[in-house]
C-alpha cells in the first residue's frame, strides 16, 4: 500500500517580527516546521519553491512590496498553489472587507487588533481543526 505523505511545513508571511515569533513558537510546539517571508514578493518566491510541502500558509494582509490580498489572488490563480489553505491575519474592521477576503478563497481570518496572543492562538487552532489541517500533526509513514 502506498504510504500517505503528510505535510508539516507552514509559510508565515508576516512583517511583524514579534507576531511571527509567537506564531512560529506555537506551531513548532504543535510539530510543524516554519518558514518566514517578510514581504509579499518573498512570500511568492517561497510559495513557488516549497508549494508541495506546505500544510498551510498564514498571510498578513498588509505586507510590504505586495499586499497579502494580492498574494492570495495569485495563489488562487496558480494550479499548484490553489489548494493550499490560507489563513489571513489583518487589522480590518469592516465586515465586508473581511467577507471579500473570504470570498477570494481564504480559509479563515484572524483579527490582530485588540486580540491577545492567547486569542490569536485559539483562533488559529480553531481554523486548523475545522479545516482538518490540524490532523497533519502525525508521525511519518502512518
Amino acid at each position: 500500500m502506498m504510504e500517505k505523505i503528510y505535510r508539516n511545513l507552514v509559510l508565515i508571511a508576516e512583517n511583524n517580527y514579534d507576531l511571527y515569533k509567537i506564531i512560529s513558537l506555537f506551531l513548532e510546539k504543535e510539530g510543524f516546521s516554519v518558514l518566514r517571508a517578510h514581504n509579499g514578493k518573498v512570500a511568492e518566491l517561497l510559495l513557488s519553491i516549497y508549494y508541495d510541502e506546505l500544510a498551510f500558509c498564514i498571510l498578513d494582509v498588509s505586507l510590504p512590496k505586495k499586499y497579502g490580498e494580492s498574494v492570495l489572488k495569485y495563489m488562487k490563480n496558480e494550479d499548484k498553489l490553489k489548494d493550499i489553505p490560507v489563513i489571513m491575519i489583518s487589522n480590518l474592521k469592516d465586515e465586508e472587507d473581511i467577507k471579500s477576503l473570504m470570498d477570494l478563497g481564504a480559509l479563515a481570518h484572524i483579527k490582530k487588533q485588540k486580540s491577545s496572543v492567547h486569542e490569536i492562538m485559539n483562533k488559529l487552532k480553531e481554523a486548523l481543526i475545522s479545516s482538518g489541517t490540524r490532523k497533519i500533526n502525525f508521525k511519518y509513514g502512518n
Binding site: I5, D18, S33, L35, N39, K41, V42, I49, D52, E53
Partner: protein, 396 residues
C-alpha cells in the same frame, strides 16, 4: 561581492539522515555548490531541509554519506545554534578556550579574548557566567569565541532562533562588518527571509537538495554607493547599484542585462528613449521587461545622476566664491536683522574660514562672542547652525 577565488566546492554531497519518503523517492539527494572567498552566503530552508546539515558538512564537522567537499585550506569559526557555551566557565574563559589548544599563555589568551569581547561591546559582561547573561549576549559570546581563532570562514547555524528582531539585526550588522571590512566569508543557515538583505547569495534547500540559487541584489554595499554621492563613483559601479535598487532576488543573467543597459546609458552609448524602450520590451524580444512604474523610476534616477554631474561641472569651473552671496545663503532662515558691522564681520569670518585661516572652533567663537569683544553676537546655537550650513555647502 564577487570574487573568482573558490573557497569551498561541494560535489554530489549526499546528505544522510532520516530517510523521509517523498514524492520523488528518498528525501536526500546530491548537492553541488561553490562558495567564493569573501562571500556572505545564506542556506535557506525549514528544519529538516538539509540546510543546517550542509553547513556542518562544509565546516568539516559532519561527514557526508556520499560525495566530496573540496576546500582550499582555511581557518574555520563555528557558531552552533545552541551557542554551546560551557556553563561553568565565565564568558571570558569560554572565549579564550580555543586558544588554550594552540598552546598560548594564559595572559595572552585573556588579553586577546578581552579585546574581541570589547569590540562586540561585551566588556561589562566578561566575568559573568553564561546562565547570567541574555540570549543576545550569549550569541555575541559564541561569535567572539569563533572570532578568536581569526577565522577565514564563519559558519553559523540559525543564529537568530532565540533572538528578537533588534538583536538579530545587531548580530547581522556585526557579521556584515566582519564580511565587508575583515573580508571574512560568512555562511549562515536560516529559515527567516528578513535577513536575506545582508547576503550575497542565497541557496534554497528542500528535502535535502539545493533546488534554487538566488542572488541578492539589495545587499548593503550597493546602498553605500548612493550615500557617498553618485559623482565620485565610476559608471560601472553606478550601473551595478542602480540595477540592485530595482531588483530583489533575481537571476544573475537578468541582472547583468539590466546593468549593461544602464552602463551604456551612463556612458552615452544609448539615448534616453532607447533605454526606455529596451527596459519596457519583454524578455522574449531581448529586452528587460520591467513594469511601467519601475521603468519611470529608473529613468528618473539616471536623470538625477546626469543632473548632479552637470551641477558639479559648473561648480568646478567657478574659481572665486561670492562671499556676499554665500552670506545670504548661510543666513537663510535667520530672522533677526544684522547691523552693517555684524555683516562685515560675518563675511570676514566666512572668508577666513574658507581660507582655512581659522578652524571650526574659532569660527564658532567669533560668531558667538558679543560685538563689544570683537565678535558678531549670535547665540551659540545659531553659530553652530551657521557652521553646519557652511560645511554642508562645501561637502561636495
Amino acid at each position: 561581492m564577487e570574487t573568482d577565488k573558490t573557497l569551498i566546492k561541494a560535489k554530489g554531497v549526499y546528505l544522510g539522515g532520516a530517510e523521509i519518503p517523498q514524492k520523488g523517492g528518498l528525501a536526500f539527494g546530491g548537492v553541488d555548490l561553490k562558495i567564493n572567498a569573501g562571500e556572505f552566503v545564506v542556506f535557506f530552508g525549514p528544519a529538516g531541509s538539509g540546510n543546517s546539515k550542509m553547513l556542518w558538512v562544509l565546516a568539516g564537522l559532519s561527514k557526508p554519506k556520499k560525495g566530496e567537499v573540496l576546500t582550499s585550506g582555511f581557518r574555520v569559526g563555528v557558531v552552533p545554534g545552541s551557542y554551546a557555551l560551557i556553563s561553568t566557565l565565565s564568558v571570558l574563559d569560554n572565549v579564550a578556550l580555543p586558544l588554550a589548544f594552540k598552546g598560548l599563555s594564559r595572559k595572552v589568551r585573556y588579553k586577546m579574548a578581552a579585546e574581541i569581547l570589547g569590540s562586540l561591546g561585551m566588556t561589562e559582561k566578561m566575568y559573568d557566567f553564561p546562565q547570567d547573561i541574555s540570549k543576545k549576549e550569549e550569541q555575541l559570546a559564541a561569535i567572539a569565541r569563533s572570532l578568536i581563532v581569526d577565522p577565514d570562514v564563519i559558519f553559523l547555524d540559525d543564529p537568530v532562533k532565540k533572538l528578537g528582531l533588534r538583536s538579530s539585526k545587531i548580530l547581522f550588522d556585526i557579521l556584515h562588518e566582519q564580511n565587508s571590512k575583515r573580508k571574512r566569508t560568512i555562511v549562515v543557515a536560516l529559515d527567516d527571509s528578513e535577513l536575506f538583505y545582508y547576503a550575497d547569495r542565497i541557496f534554497f534547500f528542500r528535502s535535502g537538495k539545493m533546488i534554487k540559487e538566488g542572488i541578492n541584489a539589495k545587499r548593503p554595499e550597493s546602498f553605500d554607493i548612493f550615500n557617498e554621492g553618485s559623482l565620485k563613483r565610476s559608471n560601472a559601479d553606478l550601473a551595478v547599484a542602480l540595477a540592485d535598487n530595482f531588483l530583489g532576488l533575481g537571476d544573475a543573467d537578468f541582472r547583468k542585462k539590466l546593468e549593461d543597459l544602464i552602463l551604456k546609458r551612463l556612458e552615452g552609448r544609448l539615448s534616453d528613449g532607447g533605454l526606455e524602450e529596451l527596459l519596457k520590451r519583454s524578455q522574449k524580444d531581448g529586452g528587460v521587461g520591467l513594469l511601467e512604474n519601475s521603468v519611470q523610476a529608473l529613468l528618473r534616477r539616471v536623470d538625477i545622476i546626469f543632473y548632479e554631474r552637470e551641477v558639479l561641472k559648473k561648480e568646478q569651473k567657478k574659481e572665486t566664491v561670492d562671499i556676499g552671496e554665500l552670506r545670504k545663503r548661510v543666513l537663510a532662515g535667520y530672522s533677526k536683522k544684522l547691523s552693517m558691522l555684524q555683516i562685515s564681520r560675518l563675511e570676514e569670518a566666512v572668508e577666513r574660514f574658507l581660507g582655512k585661516i581659522i578652524n571650526d572652533k574659532q569660527f564658532k567663537k567669533i560668531l558667538s562672542l558679543p560685538e563689544i569683544q570683537g565678535g558678531i553676537g549670535f547665540s551659540y546655537a545659531d553659530a553652530k547652525k551657521i557652521l553646519l550650513k557652511l560645511n554642508s555647502f562645501f561637502r561636495k
